[in-house]
Amino acid sequence: MSTFFDIVASAGLWAAVLRIATPLIFGTLGALLSERSGVLNLGIEGIMTFGAMAGWLAVFNGADLWTGMLVAALSGALFGLVHAAMTVTLGLSQHVTGLGITLFASSLSYYIFRLTVPLASTPPTVTPFQPISVPGLSDLPFVGPALFTQTLPTYLSIVIALLLAYVVYRTPLGLALRMSGENPHAAEAQGVDPVRVRYGAIMAGSALMAMGGAFLTLSAFNSFFPTMVQGRGWICIALVVFASWRPGRALFGALLFAFFDAFQLRLQTVLGNVPYQIFLMMPYILSIAALAVMARRARVPQALMQPYRRGER
């Protein structure tokens, strides 16, 4: 039992929690924003992959790291525009369109990467975001190394989560967003244009997803390789349900999930005789379990997955 406490009591674990959580926070918030407006975006896995590639490629070609993040966000928004055009304007199946976007965006990122970066035995790298030390706070015993030695995008993801919680519940924009996702006809009657709200939410959400992907190549690692997103996008979709479509809980859910993930990574070294694949399965099984527990309790946006056509019920 003592090993479990040793793991939990190490500052390294808590530093890893924040690092593992960051792409999930970005992705979950992006998916949440889109779903709050009434549109499921299963393009997330591919958009994260494309963001990882585009951000990395920009930096590899000489751009600075924040420009890389911006490039990723813009590319994400562009895929969001395609998703919005197909699901909002044409009202096509959100499931199939999203999967199509995922397949398209991920294969396109491999294509562009292979075309611009020739095959090499060691993958080319960039200098990633460096951990910053917060004066005063980083020197605190335990709490300092655990929470205040992250890279800037990690802090940014937490700020965005809090900002989104404020916008969704406390601003007219958030009200318009929620109305579009709950009852677009009523929204229209109140002078809100659900079509425009949905376009905006999907594009902004996709930009966040792509930034989550870019975090992988520009902060967590320093190179891009195919299949590196490893289902994180799908986990984010599950986390949105777990969070019951609330930004604050999404932040909590991503951190909780990352805690389990960081914990099992450390447990692997202690329990050497258990096949490592068992540990790698855990995040996926955990996501499924979270869905099973929360699916009925969560409050789904009432118009989620219902296309909106003006004057048509």
Partner: protein, 363 residues
């Protein structure tokens, strides 16, 4: 965000979409062709951006896929698993059961065959063993698909995400098996499963090629699914479940039971695809047995407009792109991923094409 000052909708409607009263047959038949042409044109832009001659690239894809006897048999070999995973997606989607887990079901079918075909059942004679292994692979796929369905029926969990997440679990499970109990001790440390017995390997359709009788099995499966959907009560019920679940229940369709049958059929077809790939092509299982056959099956099903017979043609097109791109890539230095891009694009263009068989634009 807000409307204009008058409270009326801010912008005039420039064009309006109007539902067609009839779906013109010509348009329905032409839609996949138009979708593929549009996808090829868009992918052509990417080939041009890479500085390669577009028409020559497409020419080389065709010769790469059919130029020689070997190439043609290779294309048909590649089309075989795609037909089965395409059917798996088509039968599920028709009932609005979103089985995105064909990749995992494929792998479970494959590993089941490796487990039983290498030792446990290898004493049986071929004519008994082969159908038995087909069945075992299909059952493994079914079992995996029943998990997301059970979660949907019991906890109202969307099966898209759960079936997707199970793909990762299934591949890790296969990795664990070929690292552990099913590891081939003669593979010089490479993680691969023990090979299935020689008499469990599928007979070849054409000598000196990789083409095996699995192709015939897949085509027969497509015909059977077609008959099942068009001629049986189950076909009608699964369609009703997809078109209007509440209405179907009202009309006396046992919704849960129908969905269980659909899930078994869909998961079984994907599991069978994995079984056939092991017994027909490789003889053993590795974690790169499938270059995304499960996901490509979704595209095949959509290109076929969920029609089982259309699946045969759509799988053929997809295999052509994948096999042809290999040769084209070597000759022109275009990454083979262009095949994946084109096929994924054709899914998106097909969705739009289907839309325009149902709606028209009115100014």
């Amino acid at each position: 965000m807000t409307g204009s000052a008058t409270g009326l909708p801010a912008k005039d409607i420039l064009m309006r979409l109007e539902r067609r009263e009839h779906r013109p047959l010509l348009l329905v038949v032409l839609s996949p062709i138009l979708a593929v042409v549009a996808a090829l044109a868009l992918a052509g832009l990417l080939i041009a951006a890479a500085g390669a001659p577009v028409l020559e690239a497409y020419g080389r894809i065709l010769t790469g896929a059919f130029g020689t006897r070997l190439a043609a048999t290779e294309t048909l070999t590649r089309a075989t698993p795609l037909m089965l995973t395409g059917l798996a997606a088509a039968v599920a989607f028709r009932a609005r059961l979103w089985n995105i887990g064909a990749e995992g079901q494929f792998y479970l079918g494959a590993i089941m065959v490796a487990a039983l075909g290498s030792t446990a059942l290898s004493g049986l004679p071929g004519p008994v063993l082969i159908p038995l292994l087909f069945t075992a692979g299909a059952i493994a796929g079914m079992a995996l698909m029943l998990v997301p369905l059970w979660l949907r029926l019991r906890f109202s969990v969307d099966e898209v995400v759960t079936s997707l997440l199970l793909n990762f679990v299934a591949v890790l499970f296969v990795s664990m098996m070929i690292d552990g109990p099913l590891k081939d001790p003669l593979a010089f440390g490479w993680p691969q499963s023990m090979p299935v017995a020689d008499h469990a390997l599928l007979p070849k359709l054409i000598e000196r090629s990789r083409l095996h009788i699995g192709l015939a099995v897949a085509i027969v499966a497509a015909l059977l699914v077609y008959l099942l959907q068009s001629r049986t009560v189950f076909g009608l019920q699964s369609r009703a479940a997809g078109l209007n679940p509440e209405g179907a229940v009202f009309a006396g369709v046992p919704l849960a039971r129908t969905l269980v049958k659909v899930a078994c059929l869909s998961g079984g077809l994907a599991g069978l695809a994995g079984a056939i790939e092991v017994m027909g092509v490789k003889g053993y299982v590795t974690t790169d047995l499938s270059p995304g056959y499960g996901y490509a099956g979704i595209i095949v099903a959509m290109l076929a407009n969920l029609n089982p017979l259309g699946v045969i043609a759509a799988a053929f097109f997809t295999a052509t792109m994948f096999v042809g791109a290999d040769g084209m890539s070597r000759a022109l230095g275009i990454p083979t991923y262009i095949a994946d891009v084109t096929v994924a694009l054709s899914l998106l263009t097909m969705l739009i094409a289907i839309f325009f068989t149902q709606y028209r634009i009115r100014r």
